[in-house]
């Protein structure tokens, strides 16, 4: 069985996380931002899997299922909010939806 060193696995998860973060920062469309958040979630979940595999403990995989559930709920609410935002502002550009400032 091919074994990849654990540092490489963590590095991969880290790259995934930063990709998500960068996507979050540079994208202006709310839908893409939500997708970037999903990527970041998944990179965090990946770290749990890596840790579970590394120490042969199932807790990490259990945690990942939790994260999947939370993500599903979050996406449901997030998409609903995005729909409302679009309905209200006729745009999904976050820089234009900035009514909550002084």
């Amino acid at each position: 069985m091919l074994t990849v060193p654990v540092e490489t696995q963590i590095l991969f998860a880290g790259i995934l996380f930063f990709l998500g973060l960068i996507g979050l920062l540079v994208r202006r469309n709310l839908v893409f931002m939500l997708m970037s958040i999903e990527i970041m979630f998944n990179s965090a979940g990946l770290v749990f899997i890596i840790a579970a595999r590394h120490w042969n403990q199932p807790d990490g995989q259990v945690m990942f299922i939790f994260i999947l559930a939370v993500t599903a709920v979050e996406v449901a609410i997030g998409l609903a909010l995005i729909l409302q935002v679009y309905h209200h502002f006729k745009t999904l550009d976050v820089d234009k939806i900035n009514k909550l400032k002084d």
Partner: protein
């Protein structure tokens, strides 16, 4: 019987309250008769009280009534208590009696004024405060009356408030007298600290027991009280407010700025004479100030154009005589002159008020003239008043009072040739400017036509006062002629006798000189102002005359010395230099708010970036520990 003295200040106060509270609902007639009537009843009570007081003179030569306790804190006690003695009796007599005549006159004089009830309310409050001032048995209550008359003076000078200049004159009077009052209240504090009581009689007894003659504390206290007296009585160097105070209606000038209030300083010094005898230097200063004031005011009166300003300067000058008398210790002569002066100066102001009123507010004497035939009653009463002011020998009352002062200025132990000489020059000036007024106003050709004739309400008080200006002098005749001392015998129950040098046999000579001087003054006034020679015309345009007219330039000097620097400082301090410290704190908060609210720009991605930077920062901290 003497318990009635409580009612004497209470009645005008009551009338003041009625006029203030219900003045709008009362008709002019009712308001006028309430205002004048309350003073009338007070005058009647004064006569009743006075007669019973003189008839059965108590052992202590005085009579006190305590009404209630005013203040009681620790060992500080002040009562609302009145004390009647011969000094306050003379004052309440003049205040209520002359005040009553002036109130009657005011009913006629103010008849067409829109502030009729307001006028009577203020006048009543004034009379009440003045009565409290002279009847007070402790110095704190006296100070209450003292400030009360100052307030009324301010209100009445600014009575015709629609003219901004009148308001300025009122403020000037208030502020300048306040300078003196500040000195006085400090003096009162020193007295309380030293003796632990406010009661005037106790203070006097304790002072003569505890303080040595000429001790520094006595000198300082006497000087501070003198400061108050100088402010109120318009003496050098605080005399500048009185000529401007003529902005008030004529009855106000008559009652407040001639007959009563301005003599409050004389009363104060006479009342606290023990303190001044403990401070001989201060007493000498009083005499010198009196002599200087009477000269300066005399010269100034000679150059005025405004009828009321002439009378104002003559008031300053006559009070100068009273101060001269107080300074040489001739207390009874000062009080006698106060009483006679109240009669004829009230008369002169009221008569001048009639002249100004019927000539449609014409104040300039050079635009008058020839009024002798048109208004005979006013002419004759004004003539009697002026004759009295210039101390026409033998027949006028002022001859006896001024002559007494001049005699004592020379013969008193603390008097001398210089003071007498200043007084005699002043007497000459007085005669000159009094008859200058007469000749210019009432003789010559008519320049302005009277618009109407004054009613009986105005002329009857004139006649009564004119009578008093003549016969008032006969209650006190000098030793050399008649030797009749009704007045000084009465007043000396309270005030110390004067100690004079051994020159008594010379008194007739001095009387002769002053009689001659007064007559020469009147004759020269006739030569100068009736015949109108060219050199007088030339003098009228000279610089010296202008200097006299401006009252020796005191206003200008004060303007440069005090007013300008204070205005300059105020101008600088417009931004409240010391407030800047406090304001800077709020500035900092506002600046911080602006700084932080930059971050609240509503850009979601901006927030996220700061989030990420924050996390990176914290992680770096954790990892590099």
């Amino acid at each position: 019987m003497t318990n009635l003295i409580v009612l004497i200040p209470a009645l005008p106060l009551l009338s003041f309250l009625i006029l203030v509270l219900f003045g709008g609902k009362l008709s002019r007639k009712v308001a006028g008769w309430i205002g004048a009537g309350s003073i009338g009843v007070a005058a009647l009570l004064t006569i009743i009280v006075g007669i019973s007081f003189i008839k059965s003179l108590p052992e202590t030569k005085s009579y006190s009534v305590v009404i209630w306790q005013w203040l009681h804190v620790g060992n500080l006690t002040a009562n609302i208590a009145f004390r009647l003695d011969s000094l306050s009796l003379v004052f309440i007599f003049v205040i209520t009696f002359v005040g009553f005549l002036i109130h009657i006159y005011s009913i006629g004089f103010m008849a067409n004024d829109e502030g009729f009830t307001r006028f009577f309310a203020y006048m009543n409050l004034f009379v009440s405060s003045m009565l409290i001032l002279v009847l007070a048995d402790n110095i704190l209550l006296m100070y209450l009356g003292w400030e009360g008359v100052g307030l009324c003076s301010y209100l009445l000078i600014g009575f015709l408030y629609k003219e901004p200049a009148n308001g300025a004159a009122a403020r000037k009077a208030f502020i300048i007298t306040r300078i003196g009052d500040t000195a006085m209240i400090i003096g009162i504090f020193i007295l309380f600290l030293s003796f632990g009581t406010f009661n005037i009689q106790d203070i006097m007894h304790l002072a003569s027991a505890k303080w040595a003659i000429g001790s520094s504390l006595a000198v300082i206290t006497a000087a501070l009280l003198l400061g108050g007296a100088l402010g109120k009585s318009a003496q050098l160097p605080l005399q500048t407010w009185l000529p401007d105070a003529m902005a008030g209606p004529s009855p106000v000038s008559a009652l407040i700025h001639a007959a009563t209030m301005v003599t409050a300083g004389v009363y104060l010094i006479a009342r606290t004479n023990v303190l001044f005898s403990l401070a001989p230097i201060v007493q000498t200063i009083i005499a010198i100030i009196g002599a200087l004031t009477l000269l300066i005011a005399g010269f100034s009166a000679l150059a005025q154009h405004d009828l009321k300003r002439i009378l104002a300067y003559s008031t300053i000058s006559q009070i100068g005589y009273m101060f001269l008398a107080l300074g040489v210790g001739a207390y009874s002569a000062a009080i006698f002159h106060f009483m006679i002066h109240a009669f004829f100066k009230a008369l002169l102001f009221l008569a001048a008020g009639v002249v100004i009123l019927v000539l449609n507010e014409e104040h300039d004497i050079f635009k008058m003239g020839g009024l002798r035939k048109r208004m005979p009653v006013v002419f004759w009463t004004f003539l009697i008043g002026s004759a009295s002011l210039s101390a026409l020998p033998l027949i006028t009352a002022d001859f006896y009072s001024k002559d007494a002062i001049l005699w004592f200025a020379f013969s008193s132990n603390s008097g001398g040739m210089v003071l007498w000489f200043a007084g005699i020059i002043g007497a000459f000036l007085t005669a000159l400017y009094s008859f200058r007024m007469i000749f210019i106003t009432f003789f010559g050709e008519a320049k302005t036509e009277p618009t109407f004739n004054a009613g009986k309400l105005m002329t009857v008080p004139l006649i009564i006062l004119a009578t008093l200006s003549v016969i008032g002098g006969f209650i006190e005749l000098p030793t050399s002629m008649g030797n009749f001392h009704l007045f000084s015998n009465l007043v000396n129950n309270t005030l110390p006798n004067i100690a004079i040098k051994n020159v008594e046999q010379l008194e007739w000579l001095f009387q002769l000189i002053s009689a001659l001087i007064a007559s020469i003054g009147i004759y020269l006034a006739y030569r100068f102002y009736f015949k109108k020679p060219a050199y007088i015309e030339a003098f009228n345009h000279s610089r010296l005359n202008h200097f006299f007219e401006k009252g020796f330039g005191f206003d200008k000097v004060y303007d440069v010395l005090f007013v300008k620097p204070i205005v300059w400082l105020a101008e600088i301090d417009k931004k409240d230099i010391f407030d800047q410290l406090n304001i800077s704190i709020s500035r900092l908060a506002i600046w911080g708010n602006h700084f932080l609210s930059i971050a609240q720009n509503g850009k979601l991605r901006w927030y996220l970036l700061s989030f990420a930077i924050g996390i990176a920062f914290i992680l770096t901290l954790m990892l590099t520990k």
